[in-house]
Amino acid sequence: MSGIAAAPGIPPGADRDHSPYLWRASADPVSAAGWSRRRLLGTNLRSVLGRAFPRIVGALREPSWVAFEVGMPLLTTSAFVLVYRALGAPEAFVGFAVVGGAMIAFWMNVIWMMAAQLYWERSQGNLELYFTAPIHLMSILLGMAIGGLFMSSIRAAVVVAAASLLFGVQYAIEDWAALAVVFLLTLAALYGLGMLLASLFLLWGREAWHMVQLLQEPVYFLGGLYAPIRVLGSFAYLVAGVLPLAVGLDAIRQLAFAGTEQLGLLPVRVEGAILAIMAVLFLVLAHRALAFVERLARREGRLTIRWQ
């Protein structure tokens, strides 16, 4: 039997016959494996798009999810709005509840469709294919995040629009650019945290369902979703230091309802800086955690052996 070197394949650039068993000809495995940095980067960027694709298709193909995922937060938001109005609370609190109800969409997406996702991908058999594809797993996580953002943004926008119309919320935005920056920083930090949690769930999660629940209700409470985080007192500073949702929401509220700064926890600039640091930190930690998980998976047989 001759070796590959002695029996080369079709030289690159040569006219391939139209055998459907061949698409991109390469001379031999060495040239096929020798990718340029540009090709490597391009493939990873395409992978981001590829992994976002099923989420975007899913969101558009089965719009029934909107009814459930918008309806439920609207009910909870409405309950808080009615309580605030019955108590005669400042009208800004109504707006706070609406914004909080919208931001839940992103947190739900982060814990259900980011943090728990790799764990579920493993049981489906997708994880092995991601590991053996010539890409970095961060591309897969980024694709998940972008696909998830698409879904969550629709949900959040619908909640804001519906609740604002329903309760006549008056926004007072003086600095649109700052609001956009803070919003994007919040998402970056949130999804960075989701990427980190994805590795950790995979590592420790015997049952991702329970881990997700552990992060759901406590964060609703600590994140100040329906009331300013300041009401938590000095404990709020600790929460703001670890939970991007809490600090992001606080900054968004200050910017969306000008004049309510006294209800905010920290100045918006400080909160923006915290969010930026969190975004970078979580992304770096996610990258490292993923590398650690892959090493562990290969060494101990975890993740790819289903009984483990």
């Binding site: 070796g3 590829g50 899913g58």
Partner: protein, 347 residues
């Protein structure tokens, strides 16, 4: 780092893999030496728990060896994983990868992006592969609605997407009907023959499949390679003995009772597929015998007759790979190794 050389598509030396699980470690591979030449269709034949899937997982960079070395197209599986991932692909039998909400076409396109095909290029390639593997009618159906056979054709198309040089196929015809399995085997042959140097490593426990497809076969059991050769070479190992197939209405004491008789080298019951019922509905048990010579058959028949067993048929057999396996291991290929299965999730 040494420059890779490609005399071998796959090469392992003293490869060992131990799973550190409680209550005791499981040795899944125990000193495997393998050299698969470029362009070969090489088969790993063995029962559940033999170590076949562990070997594939090491070669596809999913697992690290505990000891020894393994190279794919000259690239080291420990230090050059990126290179290996660019030139190989893998397909497993019963694979349920992907997302049920996607159609066949969308699913394949998604995977094409992981291998760097351009957006439009990906769609064109996907359409071509869908036609090729014969699932054109299902192209716009969600993958959750596909039959097992259609699903496996989809998986095979996924395996072809990146024009790999080395294709790892782990029980690719598992659970398929005869027609679908035949088509999958035909695709394997044609894919390989399109470009000289393309290599397939196939694991299977279907002997006929290994016999039909493989240039060479390694018989694996309990993490060790017991024999390597072409199917003809392997079968010649047992050709000097006499092989008989008996059909009886019952078998008191099981095949072990026959194996203890003088001149009988081994006796195993055939698989379920070989156990039939006659026109009256009575069950029939098929037994494969390996005898020192034809004369030993007399003692077997006498023994069965004395036990009141009704002999329904005797036929002299040509040796099969199962006979080789029985001679090497002392049990049938369909019989799981004692204590096996705890080291192999997918075998």
């Amino acid at each position: 780092m040494a420059t890779p050389t490609f005399a071998s598509a796959i090469q392992t030396q003293a490869l060992r893999r131990v799973y550190a699980i409680k209550p005791r470690p499981v040795v899944a591979l125990d000193g495997v030496d393998l050299d698969v030449a470029a362009g070969e269709l090489f088969g790993l034949l063995g029962p559940n728990g033999a170590g076949k899937t562990t070997l594939i997982k090491i070669l596809t960079t999913l697992l690290l060896p505990t000891e020894g070395t393994a190279r794919v197209a000259g690239f080291d599986v420990v230090t050059q994983t990126g290179h290996i991932r660019r030139i190989m692909n893998m397909v497993a039998g019963g694979e349920q990868s992907g997302y049920g909400i996607l159609t066949v076409r969308e699913q394949l396109w998604m995977f094409s992006q992981f291998y760097g095909l351009g957006t439009r290029e990906g769609w064109r390639r996907v359409d071509e592969l869908i036609e090729l593997v014969g699932i054109a009618e299902q192209r716009d159906r969600r993958i959750s609605s596909l039959s097992t056979g259609q699903r496996q054709k989809l998986n095979l198309a996924r395996g072809f997407l990146n024009d790999p040089w080395i294709l790892f196929l782990d029980e690719p015809t598992l659970g398929l009907d005869v027609g679908a399995a035949r088509e999958v085997r035909q695709h394997m042959r044609e894919w390989r023959s399109t470009v000289p140097g393309r290599t397939i490593l196939l694991t299977t426990h279907y002997m006929a499949e290994a016999d039909e497809l493989c240039d060479r076969i390694a018989i694996v059991d309990r993490g060790r390679i017991l024999a390597i050769g072409t199917p003809a070479e392997l079968k010649r190992r047992v050709q000097q003995e006499s092989l008989f197939r008996l059909e009886v209405d019952r078998l008191p004491g099981g095949p072990g009772a026959l194996a203890a008789l003088p001149g009988v080298l081994s006796a195993v019951t055939a698989g379920d597929a070989d156990t039939a019922a006659d026109s009256g509905g009575a069950a029939s048990i098929a037994v494969q015998l390996v005898l020192q010579d034809d004369a030993a058959l007399a003692a077997v028949v006498s023994n069965l007759t004395a036990a009141g067993v009704h002999l329904r048929g005797i036929a002299k057999s040509e040796p099969t790979l199962e006979d080789v396996f029985v001679e090497l291991v002392g049990r049938g290929l369909s019989e799981e190794a004692p204590g096996a299965g705890d080291g192999e999730a997918n075998e």
